[in-house]
């Protein structure tokens, strides 16, 4: 069993190194690398940080500082789907807070948490650029407008499948 885990870790290190190396000649490569790692592997693990740092010739502390500064970067695996509910002013004006409360109640999690079955990570976001058709919700990058509680339930039904 331990060998399996070690193998998995080695495979991950290899993949991280590939992703970082492929982008190291970009100007300002770190954030594109972090996006690519998260896209490919779902999150940025603490163990990934020194690997990226080594490829870029940075200190692990510098990379860690960047990972933790930006809200997008997840340091633990998320759910199979991610639902983000806009809580900014224009959506507040049309009931976004009540919608957010409804979603938290429905899923039994707070913003930033994942349901215990691993199906959905729920989060808040401040503006999705859909301020004339609020409340706005984004599910795995796909934008939804005029989302009522019933519509939100339907969206959750689609991702739970």
């Amino acid at each position: 069993m331990t060998t399996d885990v070690t193998d998995l870790a080695a495979v991950r290190v290899q993949r991280i190194r590939e992703i970082a190396t492929a982008r190291r000649d970009l100007r300002g490569p770190l954030i594109p690398i972090l996006h690519a790692v998260q896209e490919d592997l779902g999150h940025i693990d603490q163990a990934d940080v020194p690997v990226i740092a080594e490829v870029l010739n940075l200190s692990a502390a510098e990379v860690h500082g960047v990972v933790t500064f930006y809200r997008d970067f997840r340091r633990a695996p998320g759910g199979r789907a991610t639902m983000r509910i806009c809580q900014a002013e224009a959506c507040q004006a049309v009931g976004a807070e009540a919608l957010g409360a409804h979603a938290r109640r429905r899923l039994g999690v707070e913003f930033g948490e994942t349901t215990s079955d691993g199906a959905v990570t729920l989060d808040e976001v401040f503006c999705l650029g859909n301020c004339a058709l609020g409340p706005a919700v984004q599910v795995d990058g796909r934008l939804h407008g005029r989302v009522s509680p019933a519509r939100l339930d339907a969206l959750l039904g689609e991702v739970a499948r």
Binding site: D72, A88, E89, C91, Q92
Partner: protein, 513 residues
């Protein structure tokens, strides 16, 4: 074939336009497009006209112009087609260009948005694209800069700094390499014009940045585009590739001596990265912490090199200025606010969307006449103009003209032109609290007045709202606002007091409940 393409011949496939703008998609435009294609039409996906309350808005090409139908739900399509939609018959809203909402506008920056296929360079050129760049390439860099100065164009990202003057500084700086960076972070709530321009007419931004590169002597450009906009990232990335393939980017652009290439960089969910120096830090791969100014980015910007940093709309306005002349642009507007601005109506509004018009239109004309008042049908009570750092204004201020100086004089700001409407159910003390909590959440942490002040602000408003020593805490609140205004390194901490103070000033009763 040609006659059939023009749509006038009943035997041919009818051309129908359905937006692929993400706001239109958010209310079902993809499914509508599929059903219309299934009915036998040729579907062209465009940007959105900006009449977002009508989305999905379907337009059918007819000899009289494009006839509109909207909002169209996917399940409406078959019925509409049976009633003659493909011939422009049935229950339409008429010719789109003739709608009062469109007629009231002066579209300069958004002239092609909603009309062209954003993924088609051919369509772009057929609708006047590249005319500005061609003109610019015949001019010396200094003359291009002076043309932009003469136009009176001011930065649309919020601060309203004259774009040409910024470019003059970069042109005059000596360096091995210079950069043009487009700020497409568009983090302000209530703003979506940058997104709509990029999704609806990305080549205009590319052209504007290329003109900027020629004007200042830059060879590399970056668009810092927020991760919340995946559709915009995709559209712009594809457009850049298409532009490169056609020699609109790269070496010897359009046969000239200009070499310029462009890259998209995706943000990572930090509001402060819209502040230009924080954006530059982020582009360099660092934490988005604000830099002290001076040095200004025009002299020491990206990687310490002279850098133009402009908002999407500033850069996207440049092609029209070069194509039609600075005087034509400067002829529009009022006072020192020249040209047009792309206003965005959002929140609790009946007809939300984009209104591009000359500066000087009043707030009330936008909210009531174009916007049709609230969506809830209740009386409007407050509007926030200019994003989370902008002031809350009562309806009594609806006669204010949209003009940088008039807004500043009223203790408010135009910012990026977003207008968010609230009805009479709004609790303004809660909105003031939100302004502080947003600042506390999004502060880059570099300076104390902002980092600590925002947290104290939340606590102070909580005490006011629960009636603890209200008078004393209102005084404390005002002191705190003064401290943040005067002592913050950037406008994040420096302007958070604006929504707070305006809420107290205009809606004091909500702090006494």
């Amino acid at each position: 074939m040609r006659g059939m393409e023009a749509g006038g011949v009943s035997a041919g496939k009818r051309r129908v336009y359905v937006p692929r703008d993400s706001a239109a998609r958010s209310v079902g435009a993809d499914a509508v497009a599929e059903r219309i294609a299934a009915a036998g039409a040729e579907v062209v996906r465009t940007g959105s006209r900006g009449m977002l309350w009508l989305e999905p808005l379907v337009e059918v090409e007819t000899p009289a112009g494009r006839v509109g139908y909207g909002p169209v739900a996917p399940e409406d399509v078959d019925g509409l087609v049976a009633a003659g939609l493909l011939d422009g018959q049935g229950e339409s809203i008429g010719v789109v260009e003739d709608l009062p909402w469109m007629r009231r506008q002066q579209r300069v920056t958004f002239t092609r948005v909603g009309i062209v296929d954003p993924r088609s360079p051919e369509d772009y050129e057929a609708h006047g694209g590249l005319a500005g760049l061609r003109t610019a390439l015949r001019m010396s860099p200094a003359d291009v800069v002076e043309e932009v100065v003469t136009s009176g164009l001011r930065g649309r990202g919020g601060a309203g700094f004259p774009t040409g003057i910024k470019w003059r500084t970069v042109l005059g700086a000596d360096a091995d390499i210079k950069f043009v960076c487009c700020n497409a972070d568009e983090g302000d709530s209530g703003t979506f014009a940058d997104r709509m321009l990029i999704e609806g007419d990305p080549f205009t931004l590319i052209e504007g940045m290329t003109i900027a590169a020629h004007a200042v002597g830059a060879s590399e450009g970056y668009v810092y585009l927020r991760s919340e906009y995946p559709d915009a990232v995709e559209t712009l990335t594809e457009a850049i590739e298409a532009a490169r393939a056609r020699g609109w980017l790269g070496e010897r652009i359009l046969g000239s001596d200009l070499t310029f290439d462009l890259h998209v960089r995706v943000g990572a969910g930090a509001y402060i990265c819209g502040e230009e120096t924080s954006m530059l830090e982020s582009l360099e791969g660092k934490r988005g912490q604000v830099r002290a100014k001076p040095p200004i980015p025009a002299l020491e910007g990206l990687f310490g090199r002279p850098t133009v940093v402009n908002n999407v709309l500033s850069l996207a306005s440049v092609p029209a200025i070069l194509a039609d002349g600075a005087e034509a642009y400067a002829a529009l507007g009022v006072g020192r606010s020249r040209g047009t601005s792309v206003f965005q109506l959002g929140g609790n509004i009946a007809r939300g969307g984009i209104v591009e018009t000359a500066f000087g239109i009043t707030l009330g004309e936008l909210v009531d006449d174009l916007g049709g008042g609230t969506a809830s049908g209740r009386p409007a009570r407050a509007v926030q103009v200019g994003g989370p750092l902008g002031a809350y204004l009562p309806v009594e201020k609806f006669d204010l003209p949209m003009d940088y100086e008039a807004f500043a004089a009223a203790g408010a700001m135009l910012g990026h032109g977003g207008i968010v409407v609230f009805d009479d159910t709004v609790d303004m003390a809660a909105m003031a609290r939100f302004a502080f909590s947003f600042c506390a959440e999004e502060s880059c942490g570099k300076c104390t007045p902002c980092r600590v002040g925002a947290v104290r602000g939340v606590e102070t408003i909580d005490r006011i709202r629960t009636g603890q020593e209200r008078e004393k805490n209102l005084v404390l609140l005002e002191d705190l606002c003064e401290l943040m205004t005067d002592g913050s390194l950037c406008a994040m901490g420096g302007l958070t007091p604006m929504p707070v103070r305006s809420a107290v000033r205009h809606f004091g009763e909500d702090f006494a409940k």
